[in-house]
Symmetry: D2
């Protein structure tokens, strides 16, 4: 399905019934990335998938934008769906958008799951982004510059055949100039991102998950976020990289499913 | 409710409906320890609480026994209830019993959640147990020898008033000779425990949770268990001690609830 | 050798020549604990060992005191020796005294090595101390309550024969009423200890070493100390407990030796 | 100074006197990288610096080679210098060469310090290397692809001005085709590297140092190496990346200095 935001078509899907859960994608992902997760996530919940502008089946945006565009896309979608408070799972780019939706429209959100998220694009991460944007001249260069730091070294090594297959597919995708142009814009849209002074205002029940070998949003950033968000819980996943949902899918689903469907968060010590 | 096992009354409770979840207590716990957890755990599941022999409202056992007695209690209860495969959550002593039930009667178990569990009573842990058994002369000595190593230092410090209240209650409990006698027997029942060479046979989907400041079953033992159990997932909880369920109750419930109710464990990479 | 402090005899030893290094003992230690370390520590340095009052060959103190007594012992000894600035290595109790000497007489100290140290006796640690003081009725109870939390579980298990021998020796020592009385006083002397609001004033070059399985001064306390001490360096030793010097003696010596003898601490980035 | 190996000039420097210490460079380093470290490392030791072939002031090698060439360079240099057993510090590429020298000529080595080293070039690391080799078209691309994963994110952010200066210098260096060609050859020379089945033969006293945010040779590889090397000690440095010597120079010097100059490695428990 699509809806129109500022004359742009935004693609989204709604699956199943129950307390709503919206998934906000990482930068290279799309609604299609979640195909295998629709089944477990619709067991108790209505699942909303959405492609950010410049992602998947949503419309491209040819002029450079920043996060505020995507934040407004999410808010518009939630208002359009009119589901009351929804649970939000965001990963990386999606977690950053989730934090900003929570700041701008706290009334739209019930619980949040923030996985591999940071509250700013640090100088370091912006330079990593610049490396990505410098590797757009050939699909393999783009693959090699981005993918090995997204998966944990162990996963990468232990699933070599799968990675090699994925490489073939992704090199093709990354050789498509339109795709790469949108990746560059998405990457640039994160550059000014910094809500480090604001996130302490967020009071939603939040699950923060960090991973041992996350080389994009290193664990200490999850610790910082946990310190700032009063009603947050922190979990550390050993032996995973930035791509937890693919590296440890069963654990990933369990963490989200359990947190958003647990109806009791007040315990008397 | 009770049922009779070898002429001994075993106390148990059944709450709610859904895929069954049985909770196996830690050594100092009882069915009453879970009062606040009945609500969230019955949202999707039938919850079975049970007092091991020598625990809570189950009958005392005056002769020394080992784990095999409690393993058989659990098996007998599950047969008595006749619920098919059940999910098991075990913590510490309860996790050790869970491992042995899984080895003896794998057919009775669906998924397992093993929190703060080890596959043996090491020489070190047996000496810790000996310290406990040497501190039975007065309730406060027993409290001081056991409780500060069960909670994480940070939790203990940050919840001083609650700990002081709890101390009053527990010193009373620990001054009761019958209670202490049963604690000594329960502790001694763990002494010969060692399934380190057998746990690799367990194929159940398992969630292993270890805690940063667990001074009873230190994290490396959870790592070892994870290495041996083929279908296990490992989570590390920062800033918690051995008593995760009290230190971080929301997170605790989420982890169990999500793992046992996630109906999909096969993902195509 | 001895010198007199407030009419009490303080035992100390001076070995070798070079930049001076004074070792401040942990609570159960004495100058004798360092017998094997004299050789490596005198390779480049003059080594000063000292028994705190109520320790080893120093005089007993029958009235309860607090840390300030031991701080003044160290200051008096350093003035007595008149060596100029000395390097200090302190472990646990000795590290706490070192911090207080550094606050009271910063002019006496060159570099500091603080191993397994905290800047306060937390409520938790004071309760642990109370457990020790409750276990004084029999030497084995005292051993079991103290020693297993001082060594890491892995070391304890992997060196079972050595631990069993040590147990025999220590149960004897701990059955000596005089020794136990002094242990109780030493333990109580730490109870009011809290320099958490002052340590930020310390500007000495400092090496802070924390250990993964330190169940007495858990690692997070070393992190806190590192955050507060501007000119500090932090090292984490995997697989060691509170007793690093016995668990990993070669590594222990290397860390101290390298830090105090490195003559360059200013580098241009 | 230079000596000739296979008709190639190898540049090296000898500084000071004492038990010899040879430093084996990381891939992007040279003898010049150690300018500030000569002073502290010559306090007790004779320091030998050397540029591998294709590094610094040593001769370029136009045909592709593998590690065995550099291993033989080091052996030839040590034979040329005829110093007896030397201590070796190797970082990353240099640590890998050190391991191979230890395997081929154990008689030439006394103690080893292996920092940020692995015993193989995993599939993952080889893909990272391919990313580097794909970024040779422009100096800035090469900088952005390599440098941000060599320093820890925190160091990078907290020393922004220094990093920006360094960027200017390095982009210039990386724009030099000769330099980049040698970098490509050095990177490729590591590709077949795998001594994972042999390192257990190494019996030298070894200090293994791993860093929390090492995104090139992640910490688990240091753990693996430690498990395999019988006489090794393992240290974990929090908050450092792959470039420990620049991120924490004082600590770096202390670790090496202490380990190689500690003359006692046998302790009776």
């Amino acid at each position: 399905m699509t809806f129109t935001f500022n004359n742009k078509q935004v693609y989204y899907e709604v699956h199943g019934q129950g307390k709503p859960l919206i998934i906000l994608n990482g930068i290279m992902m799309s609604t299609k990335s979640w195909a295998q997760f629709i089944e477990p996530f619709t067991q108790f919940n209505q699942l909303i998938l959405v492609d950010f502008l410049d992602q998947g089946q949503s419309e491209k945006v040819t002029q450079q934008y920043d996060h505020s565009l995507q934040v407004d896309v999410v808010i518009a979608l939630l208002e359009h769906l009119n589901l009351g408070k929804v649970n939000v799972y965001g990963v990386s780019y999606g977690g950053q958008i989730a934090l900003q939706v929570a700041l701008k429209r706290p009334d739209l959100i019930d619980k949040m799951c923030l996985f591999n998220t940071s509250d700013e694009t640090s100088y370091w991460l912006s330079e990593v982004g610049h490396a990505w944007n410098k590797a757009t001249h050939d699909g393999e260069a783009y693959y090699l510059t981005t993918i090995p730091i997204i998966y944990s070294p162990k996963f990468f090594n232990e699933n070599r055949e799968w990675m090699e297959n994925r490489k073939k597919i992704l090199v093709d995708v990354f050789s498509n100039q339109d795709f790469i142009d949108s990746m560059v814009r998405l990457t640039k849209s994160s550059e000014p991102y910094n809500v480090s002074d604001q996130v302490h205002k967020i009071k939603h029940e939040t699950l923060i998950v960090g991973c041992e070998y996350d080389f994009v949003t290193p664990y200490y950033q999850q610790e910082l976020l946990h310190e700032k968000l009063e009603n947050s819980n922190l979990v550390f996943v050993p032996d995973s990289g930035h791509a937890l949902m693919y590296e440890k899918p069963t654990l990933f689903v369990s963490l989200v499913l359990g947190f958003i469907n647990n109806n009791k968060t007040e315990f008397t010590l």
